[in-house]
Amino acid sequence: MRKRMFFILVILLMLMLNQSCEQSNFPLHLEIPYIETGVDYNEWALIPAGEFYSGQQNNLGKIDYDYEIMITDVTNEQYAKYLNEALKKGTVKIENNKVMGYYPGERFDGHKHEQQIKAGYWIYVPLDEPGVRLKFNGEGFTVDKGFENHPVTMITWFGANAYCEFYGWDLPSEMEWEKAARGTDTRAYPWGDEINEHLANYNRSNKLIRKLFGLDSGITTPVGFFNGREYKGFQTKNAQSPYGLYDMAGNVWQWTRDDYPDMSDRFMRGGSWANYDYNLRIWARNSSRPDYYAINVGFRCVRKASQKNEAN
């Protein structure tokens, strides 16, 4: 009996190792069905100046200027377009299968655990890492089929910041992000206080989303996916924020702009497809060094309200 139990344990352990190792054969690029959400990811939402409740303890915050924020995360298609333009302009370069760009560096306070960010070329996006949906063919960038309207991922903070700056915009500050997600009340999620798999792409909705794309693992959803539409039997609810933003909870973490003293980490908001619901609450924060990239991290930009006409 003991021998049999030991044998079963060994088999299970071997299966686990085998399963984990098998993944190294996983294709670098994937093709998935394209899903049209009907949401225009070139749209911006106006966030009026004013007070709002900030953080878990509902502290009163105030932003004294109007600003606009993208209604969705930046998509793979948008980022590929940017890279092609930047490549032509010479603001990015490809080095060792990485897209690199110049960053002027920032103040180093020498605090414990702080990483020094010197002026120089920093990674924007790796091209040979699994999970990257952008391809470089020697001349320009294209996107894996079906991922065009998914949020761009595997982008470092430098890459996100460079995108926004390229068009004269900014990454949102944490306060700007929060006001845009929450509006003027004390809700926990952009749409209210309840959460379920029909409202956002997070840990609990993985099963349904895998089925939709015919995949074995969790994945991003197209931006604006949770808008009340039905996709092949998967009924979503409209999960817009009070100002009409999509995906402010779930799908991908979003980089924010702030550079706080004595630390090099940049903060991310919103939670992702890989997280439990509590990470999707409006005040939940994640952070990492600005050269960090991951399959569940993306971004969106903000701009001054007065920039609207210039951009159009």
């Binding site: 996983f26 004390t186 990470n279 609450r281």
Partner: protein, 504 residues
């Protein structure tokens, strides 16, 4: 009526009954609240629990709820340790009764009303009763410290094999006393910060603040409080296990001073964290080394004793490695606690040291949420290890014998260690697998974690069901335990003026 009175006497007046009630309460809370997170939440069980019990889970109050849950379980664990201490350390009978009664009412109030407050609609009367419960537990700690006062003449050691001072003061008793005093002061540390809630202090989980360079004094106090309380719970159970094994001799004489010094240093390290944060950590590390060395002495002594006792039982005077090894593993219930202390080095201390050494190189390169998983993972494992040691001691107390004892012991050791090892591997997964390929690794490590935990919970449930059904028997085990409630921990002979439970 007699039926209930007799059982009430057993459950709430005898040490064994009190331990049984506390274990049952913790199990009940674990079973219900365990459905609110992790895979059970994913499978939709959480929704059923919430609906069925009418829980009100406002997302904004999640952190507060978790803090309350930690306190509810921790108070019951502390009560169990108090029962053990008052039974195995010489204390006068009337003191034991008062301490046990106070801590029992305290933890039941804290647990029932604390969870009632946090999970069922924020009834502030419940919150008041929760605080009342905590206050009673604190008061029982004061009573315990007074009862443990090591410099009383009647508690001087008569058997010189036990660690003692030149004047015969029992060093083990001093260790228990130091641990109790430290726990009282450290509880105040948390209580003072908590009393400022809403006035400069807000609810937070320590793991959410790890990367914030500046923390408020209240935040530092709470972080210190939660770390030292778990450490002291671990110290207390180590001392209890020492008594269970009748720890004595040269190892005891080395271990007890180390333990006392370790407790004092760690306490200083934690208490100075607010004004002297930069050096506090170093002091805590030094204190930990002393305590871990003391635990190592116990493990060496205990394993030698286990081998010796078994070989003597078999009538073998000389034995080679394998025979000794077999003798060591003969009784899993007694081998287990010491093994868990060794295993802890791989899943708790080892991870902690590795993390400290490679913090900037590895863990601060990962995102905050990943670092959080390692941090919460390793202290959950420590708490789990303490729980398994308590379970093993309880299995010994209730007199599990023969094959049932072996099955219970081995399932507990193997099941929990698989779970703890899987949790550790899961938390460190980025060391072995790229994020993109993590899902199968996560799936398998979680499966092993669930299998391990499920096996532990199943045997625990079986043990509790047996005890529950036993209560309905006229001459059940409970009756024997009521007649002979003393825990086996034969240290020194009972001295004049010191009463022994069960001989009254």
């Amino acid at each position: 009526m007699k039926f209930f009175i007799e059982r009430f006497h057993f459950l709430f007046k005898s040490t064994k009954g009190l331990v049984l009630v506390a274990i049952a309460m913790i199990s009940l809370v674990t079973a219900i609240w365990g459905t609110l997170s992790g895979p059970l939440a994913e499978w939709g069980i959480k929704d059923v629990t919430v609906r069925l019990l009418g829980m009100k889970l406002n997302p904004v109050q999640r952190e507060g709820r978790i803090i309350m849950l930690y306190h509810a379980i921790a108070m019951a664990v502390m009560a169990i340790e108090v029962y053990f201490i008052t039974s195995i350390v010489q204390i006068k009978k009337h003191r034991q009764s008062i301490i046990n009664a106070t801590v029992t009412v305290g933890y039941l109030c804290a647990m029932i009303f604390g969870l009632g407050f946090a999970y069922f609609g924020y009834n502030w009367t419940f919150h008041g009763l929760f605080l009342f419960g905590l206050s009673l537990i604190f008061f029982s700690g004061i009573l315990l410290a007074e009862a443990l006062w090591p410099w009383r003449k009647e508690y001087r050691v008569s058997n010189l094999e036990y660690a003692h001072t030149k004047k015969g003061v029992d060093l083990e008793r001093i260790a228990f006393f130091a641990m109790t005093l430290s726990a009282l002061g450290s509880a105040m540390f948390g209580a003072v910060a908590g009393s400022y809630w809403g006035q400069g202090h807000q609810t937070f989980l320590a793991e959410n603040l790890i990367r914030i360079p500046y923390k408020t004094p209240f935040e530092l106090a709470v972080i210190g409080h939660l770390h030292i309380m778990l450490t002291l719970i671990a110290v207390a159970i180590t001392l209890v296990v020492g008594r269970w094994f009748d720890f004595k001799g040269v190892f005891h004489k080395i271990a007890m001073p180390l333990m006392i010094i370790g407790i004092i240093i760690i306490t200083i390290g934690v208490w100075i964290i607010v004004p002297y944060r930069p050096i506090a950590h170093t002091i805590i590390y030094v204190g930990s080394v002393f305590i871990m060395l003391a635990a190592l002495m116990l493990v060496i002594y205990g394993w030698k004793k286990l081998i010796h006792d078994r070989l003597t039982e078999q009538g073998i005077t000389k034995a080679g490695f394998w025979r000794s090894f077999k003798a060591l593993l003969h009784d899993p219930i007694k081998f287990g606690p010491l093994w868990q202390m060794v295993f802890m080095n791989f899943t708790v201390s080892g991870v902690g040291i590795f993390m400290a050494a490679k913090l900037d190189e590895i863990f601060r390169v990962w995102p905050l949420r990943e670092e959080r998983i390692v941090l919460t993972g390793h202290w959950h494992v420590l708490a789990g290890i303490i729980a398994t040691i308590i379970m093993m001691y309880y299995a010994d107390i209730v007199g599990l014998k023969g094959k049932i004892r072996k099955w219970f012991g081995w399932i507990l050791i193997i099941g929990s260690d698989i779970a703890f090892a899987s949790a550790t591997l899961f938390s460190l997964k980025r060391l072995f697998v790229k994020q993109y390929f993590q899902e199968p690794f996560t799936k398998w490590s979680m499966l092993f974690l669930e299998i391990g935990l499920a096996s532990v919970l199943i045997i625990l449930a079986m043990l509790l069901l047996w005890r529950l059904f036993d209560l309905f028997k006229k001459e059940g085990v409970w009756k024997k335990e009521l007649i002979s409630p003393k825990l086996e921990a034969s240290k020194t002979t009972v001295l004049p003026g010191v009463s022994e439970e069960g001989k009254q």
